[in-house]
């Protein structure tokens, strides 16, 4: 089996794609098997384009794409047996029932798990006999997810799987996604601008902004590098510029410095100049997201 020769579920190297008003630039990313990667970025950052390229739906101008060991887009037919893809604009047949869709998938995919499909129907609160046109947006999203999840693919590629869902439905979906990880070797790549979802369930985080990858690494290392330092700056002392500080806000004697390369030395360096470090706080992915996008845009414009 070709796809067992690599321990990467997804590998993009130097992938570029030029459109008239948007360019995906030199995308490099690696998703090891058995892990969940959250693709995060603002609207229009390039998340969906990246996903389309790796699914072979859009052909890259340059660079290499390998999915489950298959080269894309050339080997997309072979690759897709083991990939479950769902996106917001995925079309279901309006006049058909969910049950019809389930039987259709079952007739195509040998790995279809009828018992799991029934369980998902119950957990998602869906009715098989209902026509697609009569159901809500949230139910439609869950129906589409059911259809890919019950195929038990080795790789799930999900474009915005939780967007537009109410809190209960979101929770149900996140539960199924983390549940997939009970089986070793299965992988998920999903995009979202909901940082909470990404922070909760991702092993790997990839940040995209304006068609470029800002960061791509494992979540724990990533969160660990970012810190907010609350500083007390005595009168007459200037805050020294220190490496690893990406932003400083100052008001009177208090200052808040944000670091993307934190190490205890940084706090000592401040204290050596007479600045008192009041506290060192970890940051949520949401806070990092905003700080990171602002910082990298400043860098690009500088």
């Amino acid at each position: 089996m070709n796809d067992l020769t690599t321990d990467l579920a997804v590998e993009l190297s130097g992938v570029s794609k030029k459109y008239r008003y948007f360019t995906l630039e030199e995308i490099h990313l690696k998703l090891p098997r058995g892990q969940i990667m959250g693709l995060i970025g603002a609207n229009g950052a390039g998340k969906s384009t990246t996903i389309r390229v790796l699914m072979g739906l859009v052909h890259q101008d340059s660079g290499e794409v390998r999915v489950l060991g298959h080269s894309m887009p050339a080997e997309q037919v072979a690759a897709k047996w083991d990939i479950g893809f769902a996106s917001e604009d995925m079309r279901l047949y309006d006049s058909m029932t969910l049950d019809w869709h389930m039987r259709f998938m079952r007739s195509i995919f040998p790995n279809w798990d009828p018992a799991y499909a029934q369980l998902l129907l119950k957990r998602f609160g869906l009715r098989a006999e209902q026509q697609i046109k009569g159901i809500s947006h949230g139910q439609r999203v869950k129906a589409a997810l059911l259809l890919v999840l019950a195929r038990k693919p080795q790789l799930l590629v999900l474009d915005e799987p939780t967007t537009g869902l109410d809190p209960v439905a979101r929770h149900e979906v996140l539960r199924e996604l983390t549940g997939v990880m009970a089986e070793e070797g299965r992988s998920i790549l999903f995009s979202s601008h909901n940082t909470q979802d990404v922070e909760q369930i991702s092993d790997q985080i990839t940040f995209i902004d304006r068609g470029r990858i800002i960061d791509s690494m494992d979540k724990e290392t990533y969160l660990d590098r970012w810190r907010r330092l609350r500083l007390e700056v005595p009168l007459g002392i200037e805050l020294p510029p220190l490496p690893g500080i990406v932003g400083v806000q100052r008001q009177g004697r208090l200052a808040v410095a944000t670091s993307n390369a934190f190490a205890p030395d940084l706090a000592h360096a401040y204290e050596d100049t007479g600045v008192r470090v009041q506290s060192i706080e970890s940051m949520t992915l949401e806070e990092i997201f905003v700080a990171n996008v602002e910082h990298s845009r400043e860098e690009v414009e500088a």
């Binding site: 549940g179 990880m181 909470q196 909760q200 369930i201 991702s202 979540k219 724990e220 969160l223 949520t284």
Partner: protein
Amino acid sequence: MNRTKQVDKDRAVPVYTVYIQMYGTFTLSQSDKRPMYFQIMEQIKQRIMIGDWAEGQPIPSIRQLAVDLQVSVITVKRAYYELEREGVIITQHGKGSHVASTSGLGDRLREQELEQHLEQAARIAAQLRMPPKRLVERLREAGDRVAEKDKELI
């Protein structure tokens, strides 16, 4: 409808405790400022301190706990790694993890917790320029208050 009528104002409100599974009561809070891996560490230590997880007892595998808590595997892995470094749990490759068989582990964890609170108190006292002697007095007063409250409860 009938049920609401039966509620008697004077009767004590019943408290239900639901035991879902061995680790069903783990709760991760998104409004808690501490990282998720740290919250998991704290809750494991708490179980050991109160004796729910005995010394030497096997604990869930990393993957299993991640699925149950609905968090990423890497977060639980980090929590287990840090707990192992602190000597609280032991992970054997291919055999899973268990609570360290150190006798008095629960007490040692409580001791550590006390140590952290004392250091924090000392730090704040220094900021207030409170002499150490006064801090000791304050601690004694706090002890008296706690004893008083405990008596009221009995």
